[in-house]
């Protein structure tokens, strides 16, 4: 059974169930390669669940449907998380999980538009996603489309000047169809983001750039729903940002507690253990 937009309505799955499934798909992919940005994926699972099962309009069997909301993944290395969401959304088949990161896979380690249905842009060169999303939002408005453009970026990308060029341009062009999601896990390649190049106070920065700004606990599904709803309901011609403070490794206690690192090391025998911990946590 599908809704009007074609999103499968599996029996009584809550957004928490979806977030759990996304985490589980991601852990299974990590196990396949013995690596992956799993800590970020676990942290972003809740905001992806709310995106794909509450906020976005799309058709799983028609990924390029003109009326779809566009979801741009600026942070290419979060691809493992987006693949998990696309699998859960029925856009990618679950039985390709074992191909993750392998030769000729549709799910390479970094997200690229040419490889993967549902991957709107090629991310990875950080600081580019918002610039492309802004162009898409301008193009959609020029076509009189009512579709939304979402851009998911990391807090590390706040270091890039192009992010702020785009923030200023989006505001200048009054793009009320653009929603930027900033995943603040306070960890980038060389260490804690606020120590690498301090972006705080972050909310006032976006506000100063003319954006409707909300900051929420990115692992609180209720708070995320409220924020997405408020962003979409706002009747003002300006772009919207939802700053999501997330916890790396969320849902797997021993990964949450692990020394925080951009590329978290997970031993080969720990993947199955992580899945078991995740499963046990859900049973509670």
């Amino acid at each position: 059974m599908t809704s009007a937009s074609g999103v499968p309505h599996l029996p009584n799955l809550t957004l928490a169930d979806r977030a759990y499934n996304i985490r589980r798909h991601a852990l299974r992919m990590g196990e396949v390669q013995g690596q992956g940005y799993i800590a970020q994926a676990l942290g972003a699972a809740d905001l992806l669940a709310v995106s794909y099962f509450h906020a976005l309009a799309y058709r799983p069997h028609e990924p390029e449907w003109e009326g779809r909301d566009r979801f741009c993944l600026s942070i290419g290395h979060y691809a493992i998380a987006l693949y998990a969401a696309l699998i859960e959304a029925g856009i990618l088949p679950e039985n390709e999980i074992d191909t993750y990161g392998g030769d000729d896979s549709r799910m390479p380690m970094s997200g690229m538009a040419a490889y993967t249905p549902g991957m709107e842009i090629t991310g990875g060169s950080l600081g580019q996603g918002l610039t492309v999303a802004l162009g898409m939002a301008m193009g959609l408005r020029h076509k009189n489309s009512s579709a939304w453009v979402f851009n998911l970026m990391s807090d590390g990308e706040l270091d890039e000047g192009s992010t702020w060029e785009a923030a200023m341009a989006a505001s200048s062009h009054k793009l009320g169809n653009l929603i930027c999601l900033v995943d603040v896990n306070n960890m980038q390649a060389d260490g804690p983001s606020t120590q690498i190049s301090n972006f705080e106070p972050l909310g006032p920065k976006w506000e100063a750039f003319g954006w409707h700004t909300q900051r929420v606990n990115g692992n609180d599904i209720k708070a995320l729903i409220a924020a997405f709803d408020a962003a979409k309901a706002l009747d003002e011609p300006r772009p919207r940002v939802i700053i999501c403070d997330t916890k790396m490794g969320k849902g797997v206690d021993f990964l949450e507690a692990r020394e925080r690192n951009h590329f978290m090391r997970v031993e080969s025998d720990e993947w199955a253990k992580a899945i078991a911990v995740l499963d046990a946590g859900r049973a509670v």
Binding site: S125, G135, H142, E165
Partner: protein
């Protein structure tokens, strides 16, 4: 290299006792006696837009300096000002192209090739998107110094997969190339001459074809292979040389990528005459090296091979005629060098 900055200077006058001026950024490169056409790119794009609603114009605070203002005035709702932010210009042009538009994005060649390269590479070229990057001040066409002299843009973009590269010679070619690149699917980098642009190629019954090199005149003593405004210089030099009974052919190569190796090799093979390449670009990685590579790979050995190009240096500021003489790309310098090489 400029003189030591602590050396006092006195006024230097030109050959006729005139005061030498740095040409304004917006000045025409046309000589005083040349026929010209105004804003050929802007007018051509405006004309195309009348029948192609998918054409969009975008710029980074340089519409007047890239002739895009003509389009902006005719189609204000299809013109997007992105501010002085070349990275956003290229990223948002990619986003527009993703939504089905044919985007003409303009700025100066230095800013596209240097500042926005990663955005052009990853957001546009890797995705084969329909973005036409049209850039003013190519090579040595301003006396403002290295900040505005895009002497290595062709080298930078030649290394980029999927990118089509055009270096047009004159107003006629810019008009025809604008239509051709609008019809072409995929990313294009086109060097732009703006303002009152010299009109030269109409005398040669020339028609631009994307990817084609064309013989403009023939001659047994040498083959000049040229691109961009250096084709103008090559044709002027050929006329001068003819007065001294030196007859040179001129092969114009406006499309730097994909490169018309077949025509170049055919003409280089035809008589074995010396080959001389001419480009408004550093000697590194432009037309000359592309021709040399094609010759070497096909075991074609002209009796001699020489390059007329800008030196591998940051160039001086000053008046353009002085600089063109200094760096060997003025007509008189081309004539002098060709004569010297042919002995």
């Amino acid at each position: 290299m400029p003189l030591d900055k602590y050396t006092p200077r006195t006024v230097k006058l030109g050959p006729n006792g005139e005061r030498l001026m740095t040409s304004a950024m917006i000045a025409s490169i046309a000589g005083p006696d040349q026929r010209t056409a105004p804003a050929p790119f802007g007018h051509a794009l405006t004309k195309l837009a009348a029948t192609n609603p998918k054409i969009i114009g975008m710029t980074a605070d340089l519409s007047k300096y890239t002739d895009l203002h003509v389009f902006a005035k005719a189609y204000p709702e299809r013109f997007f000002q992105m501010g002085m932010a070349e990275q956003v210009l290229m990223g948002s042009a990619a986003g527009m192209a993703r939504e089905g538009f044919t985007v003409f994005a303009t700025t100066y060649a230095v800013f596209a090739s240097r500042r926005a390269y990663d955005f052009i590479c990853m957001a546009i070229a890797e995705e084969m998107l329909d973005v036409k990057i049209v850039c003013a001040l190519p090579g040595l066409t301003t006396g403002y110094g290295p900040s505005h002299q895009a002497t290595e843009d062709l080298a930078i973009f030649r290394g980029l997969p999927n990118m089509t590269i055009i270096d047009p010679c004159d107003a006629l070619e810019i008009e025809q190339a604008t239509a051709a690149i609008a019809a072409h699917k995929g990313p294009v980098y086109m060097r732009l001459l703006r303002g009152n642009v010299p009109l030269v190629l109409d005398e040669y019954g020339y028609t631009f074809e994307l990817g084609k090199a064309k013989m403009l005149r023939d001659g047994p003593d040498a083959l000049l292979i040229s691109t961009g405004l250096m084709t103008m210089r090559a044709l002027e030099a050929a006329k001068e040389l003819e007065k001294d009974r030196v007859k040179v052919g001129v092969l114009h190569v406006p499309t730097i990528k994909p490169f018309d190796e077949a025509t170049i090799l055919r003409e280089a093979n035809r008589t074995g005459r010396p080959v001389i390449t001419l480009e408004n670009h550093t000697i590194v990685g432009g037309l000359g090296e592309a021709v040399a590579g094609a010759l070497m790979r096909s075991d074609t050995r002209p009796t001699r091979f020489r390059q007329i190009a800008l030196p591998d240096q940051f160039l001086d500021a000053g008046a353009l005629p002085t600089l063109h003489d200094r760096y060997g790309i003025s007509t008189s310098e081309v004539v002098r060098r060709v004569k010297a090489w042919l002995g």
